[in-house]
């Protein structure tokens, strides 16, 4: 199939509604047809030709690939509802990347904003830079978080990762803010850096693994044992870890693995291991 290259030429910094930019939506369309599509620039209805330069390049891949050249931080909802194909962003991207996607993959070379992979059902999102708040969570107030798929962030991430998440995996290579895995129902979150605390608030299922340091843990989690390894997506990660169960205010059975080595101030809780 083909590879379509997009270059942002908009002369305004107003937000652009990017939900037309998904391989599903653009499959089978030629360049003039794509340039003729309409979207929002701020409160103005514009044609794609007014905000993007689009070029066609063929490649050997069978899937349609969309490549965005440069930063597109003003474009939101890129890859909404996509189920196949590939999106590559050679720069940073705006909020709501890959929401409700069910397949395919998205690669971002720069940073991403909030709500990456909101309520996504499948597929892969990879961010080389940092990402904002609420990765893999549901929209504000919604009780449907991430339902499957994989999100990898090489840099740091913000608060409330995986809120209401039910399945799938989130891997953060850097540090995270507060409330990672709040209201977690299932699935797993791996944080390789440090956390600002409040891990797994009100979680009832699933797994949060923290390799770095956390500044606080909730008293509503009880420590069950020290485990030498934790499993994320079939991959064994060596610890040792304090294994917490909770959140007991919600009668939860979620699991919290916190590195023993990086959290010496949790040592007093070893006395409570049954």
């Amino acid at each position: 199939m083909a590879l379509k290259k997009f270059k942002l030429i908009a002369n305004s910094n107003a937000p652009i509604d990017g939900d037309i930019f998904s391989p599903n939506n653009l499959a089978g369309k030629n360049i003039p047809e794509i340039l003729n599509l309409e979207t929002w620039l701020g409160k103005k209805r514009v044609k794609v030709s007014e905000i993007f330069e689009v070029t066609d390049e063929s490649n050997e891949s069978e899937e349609l690939t969309l490549v965005f050249d440069g930063n597109i931080t003003q474009v939101t909802r890129v890859g909404k509802n996509m189920s196949e194909g590939k999106i590559i962003v050679k720069g940073s991207v705006g909020a709501f990347l890959g929401i409700e996607m069910s397949g395919g993959s998205i690669d971002v070379d720069g940073d991403a904003d909030t709500f990456v992979g909101m309520s996504m059902k499948g597929g892969t999102i990879q961010i080389k830079g940092n990402a904002g708040d609420a990765i893999g969570s549901g929209y504000w107030g919604s009780r449907t978080g991430m339902l499957g798929g994989l999100i990898i962030v090489q840099g740091n991430a913000g608060d409330e990762i995986g809120r209401w998440m039910k399945a799938g995996t989130i891997r953060i290579c850097g540090n995270t803010g507060i409330l990672a895995g709040s209201r977690l129902q299932g699935g797993s979150i791996l944080i390789q850096g440090n956390s600002e605390g409040k891990l797994g608030a009100s979680m009832v299922g699933g797994k949060v693994v923290l390799l770095g340091k956390t500044s606080s843990t909730f008293p509503s989690f009880y420590i069950s044992e020290i485990k030498s390894k934790a499993k994320v997506d079939g991959e064994k990660i060596s610890g040792p870890f304090y294994s917490f169960l909770g959140d007991i205010v919600e009668n939860g059975a979620g699991k919290l693995f916190i590195s023993v080595e990086n959290n010496p101030d949790l040592k007093y809780r070893e006395d409570f291991i049954p």
Binding site: G138, Y139, W140, G141, S142, R143
Partner: protein, 568 residues
């Protein structure tokens, strides 16, 4: 004002006994007239289309503090369902709780022109009027909640009916209210003091009065004041399996008060009050018993409160029920104690076709609509947004008009839910005439609106023209056509202005706000007012002057005189 003449449409107008006949309708100065000068009049061609009076919905929570709180509680209800500005139409969001402007537009596009807000806590009525002012196109009114009001309970306990009538009359005038609404009488107050399950004859703590006495007392007051609408009752034990007995008790408790002038009590969203069984796993339909009672007794009218599958928000002044629903669903919720008056709560819910209880609830609503023979006393509502958003009405109409449509859906529901309800055995299908009665003519009549719900000379020119030929369509087979036709009118006209055309909003006149200018004799009024003022100082945290809604506050005030003042 432009004059119009609507030609060649098939008119359905039950109040004037017109059933699918070709009648031309003449319109002048916002009213329907016998004839107009044909050379000046604009002609609207309605050939092979269905012409009905504008729809009248008597129970739909479209405005007030609870609706606004629901919007705040549910951002996820808004981000998927939005409309952008287009011509006269303002932008808006919301699915089960749309924003005010969107509410007006969506109703108008479906052919509804009059919608009443049925629950407004007196102290928050000024907020209700704020939102009613903002809703374009629709004529509306609000019903103050009086079933758990401290003043009322005290007056009725001491058997001071005259004073109670004077107080209610003062409230209607002060708050610009329209009718008496009773929600879970006594039980909300009992729950606030820590009581749990509350039967029809259990006394309310600290007031020592039973729900039975409150309902009977208010019905007597309603008669004395001659208010246009009967007492609007949300019965006790709502949502509990086995509650159909309480509903029958409520209906029967006022039978001796009945007069000759039609219903004295309107029992609302009865679907939620028609459950047999002892717990949720054994829940079944009690609709047959209630339908039987309504068929045999003329003093009561009901609306069904149909459940529609999908995501919606429940909001009611019935605080105890919302507490139980929250215990069941464990989601987010709001609960509020309205001082000295009532309670309220909001809980989001998703009705699911494969859920046994929801499937039974769905069938009970249709049971009621189809088993009550007199369409003048059973009205079609979804208790928006409790059973489902009002935008689902066309789907509901198609189930009423086509056995095939409801059977097809019911086959995909749990088997037990089919066995434990009556729907599978009912062959009745609504005609367009029946539908016009239950959604327009009868609702206008029960609300006491003489200018609504019909197309005779003198009526308001509220007209809905639908893209459907009632003579040619086979309603029992072509249910999808019905859905499509009723979801978007060809033309909706409000008081002689075309407001919607094929789904586009082309006019946004300001709707009226009806209220009852109720009065009692001066000496009675003068004797009661000092007492009200004194008690108000004791009971409320606000000053009585802040309680008033001045007439100038209403965008377009439409006072109605009560039929007869018979207070002694």
């Amino acid at each position: 004002m432009t004059e119009f003449i609507i030609r060649n449409g098939f008119v359905v107008d039950p109040i004037n006994n017109i059933n699918c006949e070709r009648v031309d309708i003449a319109i002048k100065d916002g009213k329907i007239v016998e004839s107009v000068n044909e050379s000046n009049a604009k002609t609207i061609d309605a050939t092979d289309k269905l012409v009905m009076p504008g729809g009248v919905d008597l129970h739909s929570h479209i405005a007030g503090a609870k609706v606004n709180a629901g919007r705040l509680l549910r951002p996820e209800d808004h981000y998927k369902d939005y409309e952008v500005k287009k011509g006269l139409r303002r932008s808006g969001t919301g699915h089960s709780i749309p924003s005010v402007f969107t509410t007006g537009y969506r109703y108008a596009i479906m052919g509804y022109t009059t919608v009443f807000e049925p629950a407004s806590p007196p102290i928050k009525t000024i907020h209700t009027h704020d939102e009613l002012n903002d809703i374009p196109i629709l004529d509306s009114a609000c019903f103050p909640l009086l079933g758990n009001n401290w003043f009322i309970m005290e007056y009725l306990k001491e058997d001071k009916l005259d004073e109670c009538a004077a107080y209610v009359s003062w409230l209607m005038r002060t708050l610009k209210g329209y009718a008496i609404k009773v929600v879970d009488p006594g039980a909300v107050e009992a729950w606030k003091w820590g009581g749990t399950s509350h039967g029809y004859d259990d006394p309310v703590p600290r007031f020592d009065i039973t729900p039975r006495e409150i309902v009977r007392g208010l019905i007597k007051v309603n008669k004395m004041l001659g208010l246009p609408h009967p007492v609007h009752v949300h019965a006790n034990q709502l949502g509990k399996p086995g509650n159909y007995k309480t509903t029958l008790e409520t209906l029967d408790s006022v039978r001796d008060l009945a007069g000759d002038n039609g219903p004295i009590m309107h029992l609302t969203h009865v679907q939620f009050n028609a459950y047999a069984g002892v717990d949720y796993p054994s829940i079944s339909s009690g609709a047959a018993e209630i339908a039987d009672y309504v068929n045999k007794n003329r003093h009561v009218s009901i609306d069904i409160g149909q459940v529609m599958f999908g995501d919606t928000t429940t909001m009611t002044a019935d605080g105890p029920f919302e507490y139980q629903l929250f215990q069941l669903l464990r989601g987010k919720w709001i609960n509020n104690d309205v001082e000295a008056e009532t309670g309220s709560g909001i809980v989001p819910i998703t009705y699911n076709r494969s859920n046994y209880v929801h499937a039974v609830m769905w069938a009970i609503g249709l049971d009621l609509a189809l088993m009550i023979d007199d369409p003048w006393r059973v009205f079609i509502t979804t208790d928006h947004p409790n059973g489902g958003p009002f935008t689902e009405y066309p789907r509901l109409f198609s189930w009423l008009m086509s056995k095939k449509a409801r059977d097809k859906l019911q086959k995909r529901m749990p088997r037990l839910s089919r066995i434990r309800t009556n729907l599978r055995n009912i062959d009745r299908e609504y005609t367009f005439y029946d539908l016009a009665i239950t959604t327009r003519a009868a609702t206008a009549k029960i609300l006491g609106l003489k200018d609504k719900g019909h197309l005779g000379a003198g009526a308001d020119a509220d007209i809905a023209i639908y893209n459907i030929n009632p003579k040619e369509i086979n309603t029992s087979l072509e249910y999808k056509t019905i859905r499509k036709a009723f979801s978007t009118t060809h033309i909706t006209m409000k008081e002689g202005t075309i407001v919607a055309k094929e789904g586009e909003i082309v006019g946004t006149p300001i709707g009226r706000t009806y209220w009852v200018d109720s009065h009692v004799p001066d000496d009675l009024h003068n004797s009661v007012i000092p007492e009200i003022k004194r008690k108000f100082e004791d009971y409320y945290t606000i000053k009585i002057d802040n309680y008033h809604v001045p007439e100038s506050y209403l965008e377009r005030s439409a006072p109605i005189q009560p039929s007869e003042v018979s207070a002694k």
